[in-house]
């Protein structure tokens, strides 16, 4: 693999006179080389938090006119913000932390990005090269720690390696199956000097992008699709990463194939579309799970047959031949045996499939599904009190599904996945693989920074919000007009639900009755905030928040013991759902 520097030469040509003077300087410090290379790579925003080992880096950043730095209040916040930035923009998210505790504070955020295949570059300070391995002050072996949760990582020991390593890191993070890459940068390397050569070619001998499956394989899939009477598309995050949503829509419409999405795939297919089945799996719709259980051909695109989707694998799609299209060969056949393995980028494969197939109706099958939709709609008991589901429905209606929605983790997340009907790709930002409480608020920060004019929501739980509550300060400082819809049940609701159903109602350590007054708390941070306790107050409050174009927290005091249904008990078959 060799990365040429097209973008860099472009950047180098446009330069003010002052920059030309700068250019006559040929030798730069390591820290300056980092910032220059980031600029050349097109980085516009960095999320980070300073400290001793990155002082030179922050000094170089101080002079940068092209890169904006967002100071989060915790490094975990920086990592999640970079993650949200990347998911909503498709660009590489960048975060910086100092050595030791700064670096270890990034760990959850890196693991989160790894599980959800998010392109991210994390730069950590490290103690000086000759101090490594001596348990020096604020030393942590962060490359060792993050080995299992990064796509790759680097420890730079030579200032000359800075430019090529950054180029490699961005290339690795953003190509193939994306993922986080960490660069550990000892402090002494950032003050040593070297020449700047932006045209340096880099080689990564072991990194090859997967080769797309041959025509034979794709033709046989096309044949199977044409033969199938009861096909279902099961679409995941890979569709969004490959920006294949238009092709997916065209393919589904041409062949009249219903589409169910994973949590990660949510927003890759318009959810008001008649062919949409919503989400499948543990908290999926009944009709999506029935369709998968009864289909004769399951077409998985950019998915990984995760346990939250499949339930008991032995009964998953047991009547179907299975097509699995994915860019990562290691995903194919990992959890479920596959009849048609297809390696490739979702978009490229869909384009080929569109060429190789003819229009089709599947009338009988769609009729069956329509009946299931009528018989088992997503529903909840409306008793006139303030129901969490109602709040989400109203957000969905008022925004037309066109806002960005980040979520925390828990019941509110599942209600958001079920009831917020996305209309635009890459707008649903949720922690899928790792299920990280505390993700939503900092992720929403990243989303809003990447999309300054968009309406952004964080649909939050009271437990989760407290995990990165400090980021309210970041929201206020940068005047990010994020709407926090706090679904406040004064419980670790999802855990309480499991305790109710599977542990005899023993609510061990899940009662959060002792909690701050979130309205006062938000106000203390300098935000507007209001509390909503009645159903009829929901719409006006949401409208007011959206129209204010300012950061607002709405503390919705919802029915405490509401449960998320449908639900497939863990390890159970998705054919058998609890319906509440």
């Amino acid at each position: 693999m060799s990365v040429r520097s097209e973008r860099m030469s472009e950047v180098m040509q446009v330069g003010s006179i002052k920059e030309k003077a700068e250019k006559s300087r040929t030798v730069f410090s390591g820290a300056e080389l980092v910032i220059k290379t980031l600029e050349d790579l097109g980085v516009e925003v960095i999320f980070g938090f300073p400290g001793g080992a990155v002082l030179p880096l922050y000094d170089a950043l101080y002079h940068s006119k092209k890169i904006r730095h967002i100071l989060t209040r915790h490094e975990q916040g920086a990592a999640h913000a970079a993650d949200g930035y990347a998911r909503s923009s498709g660009k590489v998210g960048v975060c910086i932390a100092t050595s030791g505790p700064g670096a270890t504070n990034l760990v959850t955020g890196i693991a989160n990005a790894y599980m959800d295949s998010v392109p991210m570059v994390a730069i950590t300070g490290q103690v000086a090269v000759n101090a490594i391995g001596r348990d020096s002050f604020q030393e942590a072996d962060i490359t060792g720690i993050t080995m299992p949760i990064t796509k790759h990582n680097f420890l730079i020991k030579d200032v000359k390696e800075i430019v090529p390593t950054l180029k490699k890191a961005f290339y690795i993070a953003s190509t193939g199956r994306p993922g986080p890459v960490l660069i550990d940068l000892p402090k002494d390397i950032t003050v040593k000097e070297a020449e700047y050569n932006p045209w340096v070619d880099v080689e990564i001998p072991g990194y090859r992008l997967p080769v797309m499956s041959g025509n034979g394989t794709i033709s046989s899939v096309a044949e199977a699709v044409m033969q199938s009477e009861k096909p279902v598309i099961y679409a995941g995050g890979g569709v969004l990463k490959s920006k294949a949503e238009k092709e997916l829509l065209a393919f589904a419409e041409k062949l009249n194939i219903p589409v169910t999405t994973t949590l990660m795939g949510k927003s890759c297919f318009p959810e008001n579309h008649p062919l949409s089945l919503g989400m499948l799996g543990m908290h999926g719709t009944v009709y999506a799970n029935y369709a998968v259980s009864q289909c004769d051909l399951l077409i998985g695109i950019g998915v990984r047959f995760a346990d939250r989707v499949t339930g008991d694998v032995s009964t998953f799609a047991e009547n179907a031949r299975i097509v699995h299209i994915d860019i990562d060969p290691a995903e194919i056949g990992k959890n479920v045996a596959v009849d048609f393995p297809v390696i490739g980028d979702a978009k490229e494969v869909l384009v080929r499939l569109l060429e190789l197939t003819q229009e089709k109706k599947n009338t009988q099958w769609l009729k069956t599904i329509e009946e299931w939709k009528k018989q088992y709609p997503l529903t909840y008991k409306d008793n006139g009190k303030l129901k969490p589901q109602y709040v989400i429905e109203q957000i969905s209606e008022l925004t037309g599904g066109k806002a960005f929605v980040a979520t925390e983790v828990g019941q509110h997340q599942m209600w958001a996945a079920q009831l917020y009907k996305t209309a635009v790709p890459r707008t649903f930002i949720s922690s899928g693989g790792l299920g990280t409480m505390g993700f939503g608020l900092p992720a929403a920060i990243g989303v809003q920074v990447a999309n300054p004019d968009a309406v952004v929501f964080d649909i939050a739980g009271d437990g989760s919000l407290q995990m990165n509550i400090q980021e309210l300060a970041t929201v206020v400082q940068y005047e990010l007009p994020i709407n926090i819809a706090l679904i406040n049940n004064r419980y670790l609701g999802m855990v309480r639900q499991w305790q109710e159903i599977f542990h005899g109602g023993r609510y061990s350590q899940t009662d959060l009755s002792c909690q701050p007054d979130f309205v006062k708390l938000a106000e203390a941070y300098g935000m507007e905030a209001l509390r909503v306790e009645k159903k009829e107050e929901v719409r006006p409050a949401l409208k007011k928040a959206i129209e204010s174009k300012k950061p607002v927290l709405i503390d919705f005091w919802v029915e405490r013991e509401e449960n998320v249904f449908p639900m497939v008990p863990p390890g159970g078959s998705i054919k058998k759902m609890l319906r509440g």
Binding site: T143, G144, M147, P148, K151, H152, L155, I172, I204, P205, G206, Y207, D328, P329, A330, G333, K334
Partner: protein
């Protein structure tokens, strides 16, 4: 034996590569039988010979996951290909003067060598395929084995230069 596969893995010769490979095996619950590593004719590249236990599914997963490591250049399952395999063993065996003759005979039969003589011990060195190494080890057992060191298997395909697929 049916379930053992020999993987020949080319990796970049960099610090940390071994940790990455070993960590991958531990993390995903694959069983390493043996792992031998050393540099190749190209000093920037090392070759690992890894013997893994597992069925076809496991071997396929191991191979694909190894290929995802950025510093792994190439993975090849050579179990069914024509190859030469060797392992080296050092055995420290109890050897009072009265049994030394007998031990020496066995050593000869295996075309092994005595590389050290202590007061009541001998160190024997042998190379060969795994079958031979296991055989010499078990034939020394009756005398009393004090210590064994094995290198793990190394292997090379027969014929012209190994080709990267």
């Amino acid at each position: 034996m049916e379930n053992k596969h020999t993987l020949s893995v080319l990796v970049e010769n960099r610090p940390g590569v071994l940790t990455r490979v070993a960590g991958l095996f531990a993390r995903r619950g694959y069983n390493i039988d043996s792992l031998a590593v050393g540099r190749t004719e190209n000093p920037a590249v090392s070759r690992m010979t890894i013997v893994v236990e597992g069925d076809e599914y496991v071997i396929e997963q191991v191979t694909k996951q190894l290929e995802k490591l950025v510093e792994v250049i190439e993975v090849s399952d050579i179990t069914k290909k024509e190859h030469v395999e060797r392992e080296l063993i050092l055995i420290k065996v109890k050897a009072e003067p009265s049994v030394r003759g007998e031990i020496m005979q066995i050593v000869d039969i295996f075309r092994a060598r005595v590389v050290d003589i202590g007061k009541d011990t001998l160190i024997i060195e042998a190379t060969g395929d795994i079958g031979k190494i296991n055989a010499i080890e078990s034939s020394m057992k009756p005398f009393g084995i004090l210590e064994v060191v094995r290198t793990g298997k190394v292997a090379m395909l027969r014929g012209p230069k190994y080709e990267i697929e």
